[in-house]
């Protein structure tokens, strides 16, 4: 479904009077695939290049080298922008739920926007679909008239998810989608995402720095460090016992259930 082929990227630094020579590489030779109905976790500390990779996959940033194939089509080949049809199948849920929505729109307008953009629905049908989507993400149809400032962070992230699934996409990029929420909401949203994945046969690219969240949701986990893919595992257990220093760092950051139980890996 999604194939990332040998993607490398460096941000061009232009200076006056001289061409940029030493541009640090943000991504180096990244390759992976996501199959239908599968969830790939992209794990890494901040600065590992995971968000840049997310941007490249979403068509926001052309990579310096390599290809992104979505359903066999190179997303950067046809034109500068991805085709509208391709965008329909590739949706996204961002980290900051508040800045991802227009603060002046109601929940119904936010969720209805992709529907208006791609489908021509009658008023009654549109309202029914919006109510249905709200209920699918665990809100009630009566919330449709509320605006973003009347929702909590967790509720608003549910609206963002409803907006992403409104068009029944094939792949959703979850860019740190639960990171800004508290623990209770994180758990709720993660189980909601797992439910939706099963019911809609969705594929996810789950970008996160939280190894536990990745292990809950993902079928396969790839770990990034300094722009490189250092380890890919289908089994979270294998990561916990990995010897790679970058993976170690992420594993060690898991808080123990009790301070006395803090794991010592030596």
């Amino acid at each position: 479904m999604l194939e990332v082929r040998e993607v490398s990227h460096s941000y061009q630094q232009r200076r006056w009077f001289r061409r940029a020579d030493h541009t640090p590489s943000v991504l180096t030779d990244i390759s992976f695939t996501i199959e239908k109905g599968c969830c790939l976790g992209l794990l890494g500390t901040s600065g590992a290049g995971k968000s840049t990779l997310g941007k490249i996959i979403l068509g926001m940033q052309r990579p310096s080298h390599g290809q992104i194939l979505f359903e066999g089509q190179d997303i950067y080949r046809t034109s500068r922008h991805m085709s509208k049809a391709m965008r329909r199948d590739l949706q996204v849920v961002f980290q900051d739920c508040y800045s991802a929505v227009n603060p002046m729109m109601t929940a119904a307008e936010i969720i209805g926007e992709p529907l208006d953009n791609y489908e021509r629905l009658g008023t009654a049908e549109r309202r029914r679909r919006i109510g249905e989507l709200l209920e699918q993400v665990g809100l009630s149809a009566t919330d449709a008239g509320k605006r973003p400032d009347q929702f909590s962070g967790g509720q608003l992230q549910r609206i963002n998810i409803a907006r992403a699934i409104a068009l029944k996409p094939k792949l959703i990029v979850l860019d740190e989608s639960v990171s800004s929420l508290d623990m209770v909401n994180q758990t709720h949203i993660l189980s909601l995402l797992a439910e939706l994945k099963a019911s809609h046969q969705l594929s996810y690219l789950f970008i996160t720095h939280d190894i536990r969240a990745a292990m809950t949701l993902c079928d396969r986990i790839a770990v990034m460090d300094q722009g490189r893919l250092v380890q890919q595992e289908a089994d979270g257990e294998a990561l916990i016992h990995s010897a790679h220093p970058a993976v170690r760092q992420l594993v060690d950051s898991i808080l123990p259930e009790h301070p006395a139980n803090r794991l010592v890996w030596d």
Binding site: M60, R87, Q91, A100, M104, R147
Partner: protein
């Protein structure tokens, strides 16, 4: 909502009270005696005897407090009396000049909006293109050129040299063209820059960039996400300017011999024609409050968050 409007309308009363108090104080602090100013304007030699008579006639020989209370009392019934200078009721004189000023003000505002809104948006969307450069040139010109000079330049080229438009007066649409351009150029200058900045700011908003990722067309993004918020600073600016335009644009009216009331009120100040000044202060205070109220109502309609925040606080 009606209660809100009513409350705002009532705020006119204290504002007019303070404004008239300041006006009254200034008139009496100034060394010029209204009776003397009247006699000078009427070419009567101000002997003590005539002065006394006039002072008594205008009620200026009474104690200040009595004069002030008398003035307030009459204002409450919207009676501004007769002008010292012309002996005509102030209302008649103002009513005769009002349509001309309102006509000029509204057309100037409309023209400024019609030009600056598309220009400002285009300058932001096609940043650093020729249209952005053009808008920048217009803004610099409009902001730096004094209106009296611009007015005379326009008259010189379009009326004297090319003979396309009349030099002065009011009546046909041709008479309107030059004064409207003169008045609106400075507005266009400010509005274009204001709108350009706020459109650029809105385009940087995260949700606007994300809208692109979600497959929304550029035109839809502009219409639904960018423009509505970008208009807010422009609306505040327009409200303030509308008040200014409606209270008379003395210089432009003078240049084009436009029969509005800017000139009338300036003369009233020179002649210490207290009833006319009083009427002007009252009129200006009401207008500014109305314009502000109008701005607030439009913004309330455009940004529903304002009202919901208000509710949360109460």
């Amino acid at each position: 909502m009606i209660g809100y409007i009513g409350k705002r309308m009532l705020s006119v009363i204290p504002i007019i009270f303070v404004a008239t108090l300041v006006m009254f104080a200034l008139i009496h602090i100034s060394p010029v005696d209204p009776a003397e100013a009247y006699l000078t304007a009427a070419h009567i030699y101000p002997t003590e005897e005539v002065l006394e008579q006039k002072r008594h006639e205008f009620g200026l020989d009474q104690p200040l407090l009595t004069q002030y209370l008398h003035m307030i009392g009459r204002m409450a019934t919207l009676d501004f009396g007769t002008s010292y200078l012309t002996n005509q009721p102030v209302w008649t004189e103002v009513a005769a000049r009002l349509p001309a000023t309102v006509e000029l003000a509204l057309w100037s505002m409309l023209f400024a909006a019609v030009v600056s809104i598309p220009l400002g948006i285009a300058a932001a969307v096609y940043r650093n293109s020729w249209i952005d450069m053009l808008s920048r040139c217009i803004s610099y010109l409009g902001a730096s050129m004094p209106q009296f000079w611009l007015g005379y330049l326009l008259i010189f080229f379009f009326s004297v040299k090319l003979d396309w438009l009349p030099v002065e007066g009011r009546g046909t649409w041709q008479n309107l063209v030059l004064p409207v351009i003169t008045l609106s150029l400075v507005l266009i200058a400010v509005y274009t820059r204001l709108l350009r900045t706020s459109v650029l700011e809105q385009m940087q908003q995260t949700y606007v960039q994300y809208a692109r990722v979600r497959g929304l067309r550029e035109r839809m993004i502009m219409l639904k996400h960018v423009l509505r918020m970008s208009m807010m600073p422009l609306i505040s600016g327009m409200g303030i300017n509308l008040g200014k335009l409606l209270t008379g644009t003395i210089i432009v009216e003078q240049v084009f011999s436009w029969p509005g009331f800017g000139r009338y009120f300036v003369d009233a100040i020179f002649n210490r024609d207290i009833p006319v000044i009083q009427c002007y202060v009252f009129f200006a205070a009401c207008l500014f409050i109305l314009c502000n109220l109008l701005v607030d109502l439009v913004q309330l309609y455009m940004d529903p968050r304002i009202s919901s925040k208000g509710r949360a606080e109460h």
